[in-house]
């Protein structure tokens, strides 16, 4: 029973996304296949839905408002359901599905679905608890989408987070976790679409999907509140359209997908420029249209992309005077963040540089990138790597497709994207779209060997593929065992929740106590995600100051009446500058646990 709201919420959201995606169908190329259409409808719909929720949420973000946004999408989707079964059969029948890849994909999807039901846990070191889930929870409580003052990263673009909010509103936090299932399917669909476009048959396409599903580095971006798999899906959708674009409608669709990607993550700004460059280059070389017409079409696609992502950047401009907020290190000279404390900016930038350091910046490191991405992915936060297949077969796949302009365009985009990734932030999750392209070229290379290689080469190729898939499963499944256990066993889930969530007893007390109206959370590293009650956190984890004189305990406490704060949560050893002394006048101890105390303000 506890899973039903999560399932229901996800079904409503996906149905609504399919309905919104249906609006894009007139823009699809006439001769695109069923799988192209389905993948682009789902991804485009998710993007449009997230953007619409964000725009409406600037003014009103109650459950009723969310339902009003979802409803037109659901109604639009009703029209496509009669044909949906037929389409599903078409998709499943890309060839008759070979049993082995089907079993592999199914096992990963089953693990994702079951693990997705687990309640989110953890501390501020997890991005989901710190901001991907925390922002949506606060937006729902405040009934408006605003950056959370004590967590600067909630001002990032939020196409996916707004959908987390809709899911939480309809089905609780489990629903947001279960969304990983739909996200992963959306990415696998666009991977299949690209694989078929590159000339792979049904069997090859199934193997592309199986390789993608068993890449631990890709899978890591699909669950636990990460948005990277959907982000990669939006970029691949843009690439799918860009390199076949001929008419204005196609370029408009390309612009929409680029805009959605830029509304999801700042790193898409670079990807957008690269996609436009590759599209310009290959359309010009292919002489499919005059240069003038091409420039006009690409110009229009850029305008569309800017319009689609504008709400996210305009919001930051209005609130912080800086569209890209907080600005990454390279953009600081163009976008001085005057409303951000220098110390906060320094902390955030230090973290960006630290997490994106990877294996260094030298030319040697760059040349070793394919090797390191395969064998040393932990250094890129790669969660177990991308498997052996892209390194082993990828070059052969590229060789086999060397006269296919679409393949060369994709390969150039992948190369430029990895160069940009290497020069900016070497975090594995940010390169998931390139990993998908790697899997496609890998299967192309494998088919090349299967057709022409010696018996020995074919045997070693089978070993490579087996190692890729088995090692991927070996990394993925044990990583999700606890989530699956928590999903099926309420006793284990409760035990795990108490073990891995800091200060949970205090939050349980505060959430259950009717006299609590608002809470002061004094520790900067305490996760306010777990508070169901409104709270004020004077100091954020990056040094954000949400109150005047936020480092002064007396000054903070003196504002409690004006802020309608009724309780104070104090934890140890995480004091910082707001250290609450014993027997502070005006405070009554009402709850005490290990390393945590709750006071009532008299």
């Amino acid at each position: 029973m506890r899973f039903l709201p999560a399932i229901f919420a996800n079904m409503i959201l996906v149905a609504s996304a399919l309905g919104f995606g249906r609006l894009l169908r007139p823009l699809f190329p006439e001769k695109s296949s069923e799988i192209d259409r389905f993948a682009l409808t789902l991804l485009g719909g998710l993007g449009l839905l997230g953007t619409t929720l964000f725009c409406v949420g600037q003014f009103w973000f109650s459950r009723f408002a969310i339902i009003l946004v979802l409803l037109p999408g659901v109604l639009l989707s009703v029209g496509i359901f009669p044909g949906a079964l037929r389409k599903c059969r078409t998709i499943l029948a890309i060839g008759s599905p070979p049993i082995l890849p089907l079993a592999i994909i199914s096992s990963v999807l089953i693990v994702t679905a079951i693990g997705g039901f687990a309640e989110p846990i953890g501390d501020m070191n997890g991005d989901a608890i710190a901001y991907h889930y925390h922002g949506p929870k606060v937006w729902l409580r405040e009934a408006v989408i605003r950056p959370v003052p004590d967590e600067v990263l909630t001002s990032f673009p939020s196409v996916v987070e707004t959908q987390f909010a809709a899911l939480m509103s309809l089905g609780g936090t489990r629903a947001a976790g279960l969304f990983s299932f739909a996200s992963l399917i959306a990415l696998l669909l666009i991977a299949a679409s690209l694989a078929m476009r590159l000339g792979l048959d049904g069997r090859g396409t199934w193997w592309v999907v199986a390789l993608c599903a068993t890449m631990p580095a890709l899978y890591r971006g699909a669950h636990g509140g990460f948005i990277d798999v959907l982000f990669a899906g939006f970029l691949l959708g843009a690439a799918r359209i860009a390199f076949d674009a001929v008419t204005l409608r196609h370029y408009v669709l390309f612009g929409i997908f680029c805009g959605i990607a830029m509304g999801t993550k700042y790193t898409a700004l670079i990807s957008w420029v690269l996609l436009v460059f590759c599209c310009l280059l290959f359309s010009a070389l292919g002489r499919r249209q005059s240069l003038q017409l091409l420039a006009r079409h690409l110009g229009i696609s850029c305008v569309v992309a800017i319009v689609v992502c504008a709400p996210f950047y305009l919001r930051n401009w209005v609130f912080f005077g800086c569209p890209i907020y907080p600005p990454p290190p390279g953009l600081l000279r163009f976008f001085p963040a005057t409303k951000l404390l220098p110390s906060v900016l320094q902390e955030v930038q230090h973290n960006v540089l630290e997490t994106g350091r990877g294996l260094g910046r030298g030319i040697g490191s760059f040349l070793l990138l394919p090797f390191n991405l395969t064998y040393h992915t932990a250094d890129f936060r790669g969660a177990g790597g991308i498997g052996l297949a892209p390194l082993a077969f990828g070059p052969l796949g590229l060789f086999a497709c060397r006269k296919n302009p679409f393949a060369i365009a994709l390969a150039l985009f992948a190369f430029l994207q990895m160069t940009a990734w290497f020069a900016t932030a070497q975090v594995s999750r940010y390169a998931i779209h390139v990993y998908v392209l790697g899997a496609i070229f890998a299967v192309l290379g494998w088919q090349y060997i299967a057709k022409q290689g010696s018996r020995y080469a074919r045997a070693v190729a089978a070993v490579v593929l087996a190692f890729s898939v088995l090692y991927g499963l070996y990394m993925i499944v044990p990583d999700r065992v606890e989530d699956m256990h928590a999903a099926v066993s309420p006793v284990f889930e409760d035990k795990r929740r108490h073990e891995e969530t800091p200060y949970l007893e205090s939050f349980d007390y505060l959430n259950a106590e009717p006299s609590v109206s608002k809470v002061f959370i004094l520790g900067p590293y305490v996760a306010p995600f777990y508070s169901d009650k409104p709270y004020v956190k004077p100091l954020g984890r990056w040094g954000e100051q949400t109150l005047p004189d936020a480092n002064n305990l007396q000054a903070v406490l003196s504002q409690s009446r004006a802020l309608h704060v009724s309780h104070v949560l104090d934890v140890f050893p995480e004091y910082g500058s707001l250290k609450l002394p014993e027997n502070t006048p005006g405070l009554t101890l009402v709850f005490q646990g290990k390393d945590q105390r709750v006071y009532r303000i008299d």
């Binding site: 001769k31 076949d244 090797f371 395969t374 064998y375 006269k403 020995y456 190692f467």
Partner: protein
């Protein structure tokens, strides 16, 4: 006005590599075999033998051998 077509929306077939093989004789197939073998051996050395579990096992074996 240039011709606008949508022919290349359809997938091109992967190029038949037979001709290329015949031109390069035996070198190219041997190169592929070597490359694939190298990738598997590197995986075995780095990811399998280089893993924490393998290191613990190997150090355990070494320890018991020298006692």
């Amino acid at each position: 006005m240039m011709r606008v077509d949508s022919e290349n929306i359809f997938p091109e077939k992967v190029e038949e590599p037979r001709k290329w093989f015949s031109k390069t004789g035996a070198l190219w197939p041997r190169l592929i075999e070597f490359w694939l073998t190298a990738v598997v051996v590197a995986f075995f050395l780095i990811r399998v033998l280089g893993s924490q579990t393998a290191r613990r096992l190997l150090s355990g074996l070494g320890h018991s051998h020298f006692q």
